[in-house]
Symmetry: D2
Subunit: 315 residues, 4 copies
């Protein structure tokens, strides 16, 4: 087992960066062009020390990494029973925006909160008198758990999400037709699009991971912002469903809770040990950062982060 250090991270970034060429940046993200393709950055936050490597001053939208924050808020607002009456906790085995899977299983609820349908249904479970108020509560929460009061939403990304939102609208209206939406679809979608557009750098992502890896305490006040049971629920679901259709592979190769977004961001939460924030904009067909995924697997091997057991380094 290696010792965590900036040098080690630099080495892993160097080894992982070539995998960026296997992916593509997502064209509908306004700030993404080919100059962003060969980029990779990582921050690890142990609660005592930060470690950085690669490009760590890039701000990207949270995209699907926001799903875990929305889920934490919904669990706080409505409790486990009510939330999972509306959305399942099973991995899906289909693409993240699948609508046929909803229909095929003739169920009123989407498979889990990590797929788009499930996240839209979960967004409807964040309390507030209006979309603005619900989103303000999201922003307050994400600023608290990151300890970063400067986090903001990008209007440009939000507009792009909205104007490219046809598939997500289809999911929301389909759920309305089956009774799975407790809010007008356009309101839940609006909140969903906004959360996707919150901008973060690797350090912010690492802080979210650290918050979840530990006891869910406000880094400033040390007050618990979420119960341990809710936190472990979210982490379990991250492990089984956080990396889109490659979740099973990452459970094997990395072995700890992860959540990715199509901006190429990855949040890692190693229980009791560390939070990891990664940005690698080039993503594969399933939606995961190619270089970021390689980095996660190397880091897990080097630091023995796999919850299912260690391999022998001397072999």
């Amino acid at each position: 087992m290696a010792q965590l250090s900036n040098q080690l991270l630099e080495q892993i970034v160097e080894d992982s960066l070539p995998y960026a060429s296997d992916g593509e940046v997502r064209p509908v993200i306004p700030m993404y062009d080919d100059t962003k393709k060969d980029v990779l950055g990582v921050t690890v936050w142990t609660g005592e020390e930060y470690f950085h490597a690669g490009k760590t001053d890039l701000y990207v939208p949270m995209q699907s990494t926001a799903k875990i924050v929305t889920l934490m808020l919904a669990l706080n607002d409505f409790g486990k029973k009510r939330v999972f009456d509306m959305v399942g906790m099973e991995p899906m085995g289909d693409f993240f925006n699948s609508i046929g899977q909803l229909e095929r299983h003739q169920t009123e609820k989407p498979f889990n909160p990590m797929i788009n349908a499930g996240a839209i249904a979960t967004a409807a479970l964040v309390k507030g008198g209006s979309v603005e108020e619900r989103f303000e509560r999201f922003m307050t929460f994400i600023r608290q758990i990151t300890g970063n009061p400067d986090l903001v939403m990008s209007e440009e990304i939000y507009e792009a999400e909205k104007s490219n939102g046809a598939r997500n609208r289809a999911l929301a209206y389909f759920m309305q037709s089956t009774g799975a939406m407790i809010m007008p679809p356009e309101e839940a979608l609006d909140l969903y699009f906004r959360t996707n557009a919150v901008m973060m750098c690797t350090e912010d992502f690492a802080r979210v991971g650290h918050f979840m890896a530990n006891e869910g305490r406000d880094p400033e006040t040390n007050i618990r912002l979420i119960s341990p049971e809710h936190l472990r629920t979210v982490k379990s679901i991250m492990l089984t469903s956080g990396m889109y259709n490659s979740s099973g592979q990452f459970a094997v190769e990395a072995g700890f809770p992860l959540k990715s977004g199509v901006s190429g961001a990855i949040i890692g939460a190693v229980p009791g040990r560390m939070g990891i924030g990664i940005i690698g904009p080039a993503i594969d067909a399933k939606g995961n950062s190619t270089a970021g995924g390689a980095l996660v697997k190397s880091l897990s091997n080097e630091l023995d982060l796999n919850m299912f057991g260690v391999i022998e380094h001397e072999l």
Copy 2:
């Protein structure tokens, strides 16, 4: 956190047994009739001590719990790359015997080794000159890891499996048609049906769990029978896919690797701590023991076995 003891187990069995009435015994298992419905037994093996409660002298067929043993053998025989060239490692989100999922994804390989299609494909990756030889190797391996030289296959169960095997034949021939089978379908099926018919009691299942929870050592000789990397691979896949379509829920509510079979057997492997063997023949529509599932969740809460974090018992 409670202390593990026979009394604790007895209490949990008593509390879990009523859930048996929510399930049904599987009629195609010859020895199963309604007298088996209200039955529940558990053995926990820590490597130092056995704990028992409920009915522990019942022998039932391994059914799908055999899938993890077949996978370990295949990994030993062909290595990780070759095995996962033939079968995936992603959770599926469909019923364990789904054939549409194979077709829909136009993939040559089944989703994972825990579903029937994947297990049949994995059976084809156990080395041997004939079905008999392959099955003999399976028996040698399962006797070694349980330390029980008396384990045998039930001819009666094997015949019942074969004569009710139409759906599994459909899966095998479908895979032959896509190139996912490297063995004549009837041979792979024959091996698969035999492994399903190996008879075990709760102690045997607990010993398999303990073998996997630790370093994969022969309990007699202490020699490693499988590499740590293979072992953690199997445990990851158990967590994401071991409990059929309820795997996500068990990842949340129990939080450690489990594998169930339609005989109502459950094997649990708590990394570094213990092996758990459960028999509760009444199963739900997804294939899991109803009373056994309740028992697993209680045990996880009482003994803080959830890998994703503990809840607060004083709350």
Copy 3:
């Protein structure tokens, strides 16, 4: 072969009415309650004579029978090639509002213009500067082909369609996401909901059928309103797909082009012979009038309307 007469029709209505008890009226149609369940009426228009039986003064919304009118308009406006670039002509084998079928086939176009998705896509192919103008053209056309200048849309039905339109919205946005919509989804949906709400009685439906059964001529002026090729295209698609998931059965048992709606309306077009208009509000799970379907089959047998051959009545 029997002789067409009011008495014959009365007899067939009497024999068919009991099938109404096998169906249910669709609750979202405002005017439909249980008093409408045991209702059946039919008009046959040969071009020379009208025949009536049962309740023929009831006005019901066109619902899906409007799909054939929209398709005729779209063919007139854009021609066959352009229309069928946007929508297929294959029967589907899934329920009329299936969305999974769209996704599964990864096609940009819906199966055919008789299913909801296809009809919404077809509505986008009716020319006009606004939804109002497009709908006005629809009304002009339907008034022409029926020779009935009094046809109007029911505001109440239109509002009900809109407020129960979640599933259709899901279809429209899904198609927008794949490029199958050439109009903003809400506009195509608005036109679609309006056409569904045009009110007709059995005679009006029979006149549409007669228009299609013959040369597509304006009953007043005798001028052709649509080319013979477009007309036969629409009739072929009615035969293979006009009766939802029972189209195959009606091709066998009735054997001529039919189109049904969930209001219990059925339009029949027997090439060169007659138009048939039926209203029987109780529908089966697939969306077809149960009594109306029985009536269609009897009428086909009695009058030898089956295009695929006659049975022997003397047998």
Copy 4:
């Protein structure tokens, strides 16, 4: 409307042959290689006169064209009710060998007798004490309706079908698992493979078409071999489902009952007018002869064969 003549047919063959380059010959048919790709032949039999064009001395296996003969026999043997209790009459909208469609609809019966699953289920409804006896009855019937006592099965084709039959085995075993098979799967498959391997030339195919287009009489004895009702049932199903996933398109463009096979054979039955036999070995992705399909459409236009109406030739 043109006059039917050998010259007309020659012209249509010449115009249609270039479409052969859009298709591929099916490699598992032993006699098919690239020399068969640019081949097209047609025979039309009016009951009074034969017309021929192109290559008409090629013998090819019936493949799926045998499905209509099997269906006629099953209807004769068990009657309409019993046959359609076991197999549906609805078009499917999925590929001819789809297995997911069976599963998705959780039905015990396949969609229709023209898809592989349905034809295998129908083969089980041909009476006989053994596969040999059932097949002998098939041969007797096909020799009768063609008036050709020399028809034989190709052992080579039969063996090829059997050894490439994994997908069809999957369908048969799947149906056994749902109760849709009333015969051991291997026996039904054996009969199915044999019927697929019966060898015919264009004249034989045209004779089958003529038998069906008229009253189903033995061409020698003029005795009815099948009831008019069964005959029209089969023709309806041909129209809605006979050309695989392009059945809807052929209903529009040709407009009369057709059945194709992957050998590139097409049987056409124009009610009351003629039988058509076509061989064009190059098939498209859906399984239909590309040149043969073009020929069918031209012939329909030239001779006004479309049952849904004529276009205006003077336009």
